[in-house]
Symmetry: C2
Subunit: 256 residues, 2 copies
């Protein structure tokens, strides 16, 4: 959706691209040449802003000028240029969110999803089900906050938790395999980590998060060291979990 | 926490009381005599604001004057007067939230909690576990979005869902009994409803929500007809679920 305002000096239109899985400085480096070139043009004025928020980078462009057709063309070309350098790191535009994009991909591919959360405590399920129609693809979520509930609800082995810890690659893997099998979903995500403020150790500091992903083909675990407070760490974990799933869904050939 | 600013004309302090389970007009009616009386006094100036947001009513008072001791006394007395008329409908002050208050009560009473969510999709678990230290009392949550997962994860009977519907008093009751038994918690909450925008019927419109509460003594189901959009209905459901639990926890004698 482009925003249109009639200005004294003509028209102002803007768009925002949302990026995940790429650092702010790298995004800046990639788009800098495009921005520099645009600023040298004289036909219309273009301004840019880069905003980073919980591992999501927003690139916003405002284009102003007297000729609406030229404006639209400028926007079209700018988007193409941005997409060329940022590629699939761009997950959406304007009002799209990671959960809406993931939801669309799941619906389009005819796939289902279930999640098992520890440190995010239901945030991931909540965000996924915020999308109207999510009951089409979201089967179930479990918030296994205690070790006992990981064992009981997800069949994580007691020895795994005792041997490697509740926050470990091994536990994340058993969690995601557990929820996938129990829910009989095509895709599954697990998250286990230390959101803080307490619970961190030298080996496993606050911000350490393991995200398990199970696809129809394979099971993987990703690990992260997030900075920030409890709420940041939870949101960042959910963002990355959705982004990891999104990238996997993009690879999948549409089944229909 | 009282906010203190030094003004040209003296001091300004303010406080906010949070209320749930009481309509805005009733709150207004109850506190009106207090406000009217205060406005007639001349020693300091007091202003009030009432804000309603997703079934929560905030009463905010600003007190301004030259003598800090008189200000403090005024605030103390105002709070006492408000509490006298609003009683346990006040759940907290200033930065307190329903989830922080419920968390404190659970921790103080040495009680545990688990939740089973349908239409709120993980929001309730998310809010409860937003509170640092919630792992002390929160055992587990399940998001049983599909009928199958209600049957499989919570032992809701298929006949109950087929006979009364997934959104029904009977299903809410079986959900709350299921999660309580499975998690072996002292308290349990279930939520099942129609958050919309689609899925509503004439008999069961969007906004119809059943909340089950299981305490160490009894199981109950409350039903609501919330207005608003999907996100409102979900937040309102979570607010009421927390408030119902809070009222139950207040009744309980502290075990220690």
């Amino acid at each position: 959706m482009e925003h249109l305002k009639r200005y004294e000096k003509g028209f102002l239109k803007s768009f925002t691209l949302h990026i995940c899985g790429m650092g702010e400085s790298l995004v800046d480096e990639k788009i800098r040449p495009i921005i520099e070139t645009e600023r040298k043009l004289e036909s219309e004025s273009v301004s840019f802003a880069i905003l980073a928020h919980q591992m999501i980078i927003d690139v916003k462009a405002n284009v102003q000028g007297n000729d609406e057709m030229i404006l639209d063309e400028t926007i079209h070309n700018l988007k193409l240029e941005f997409k060329e350098v940022l590629q699939e790191n761009i997950y959406g535009e304007d009002k799209e969110t990671l959960e809406s994009v993931v939801g669309n991909l799941l619906a389009k591919n005819g796939r289902t999803l279930s999640v098992a959360e520890s440190c995010t405590g239901g945030l991931l399920s909540h965000r996924i089900t915020n999308i109207p129609g999510s009951s089409m693809y979201f089967k179930e979520g479990v918030v296994t906050y205690s070790n006992e509930s990981k064992i009981k609800n997800l069949n994580v082995r007691r020895e795994t938790i005792e041997g490697f810890g509740a926050v470990s690659e091994e536990t994340a893997l058993e969690m995601v395999r557990g929820i996938k099998r129990i829910s009989d979903s095509d895709y599954a995500i697990s998250i286990t980590g230390i959101a803080g403020p307490s619970g961190g150790t030298k080996e496993k500091p606050v911000g350490l998060v393991y995200i398990g992903l199970s696809t129809p083909k394979a099971d993987k675990v990703f690990n992260f060291n997030f900075s920030g407070g409890r709420i940041d760490i939870r949101q960042r974990s959910a963002n990355f979990a959705l982004d990891i799933l999104r990238r996997e869904l993009l690879k999948e050939k549409h089944r229909k």
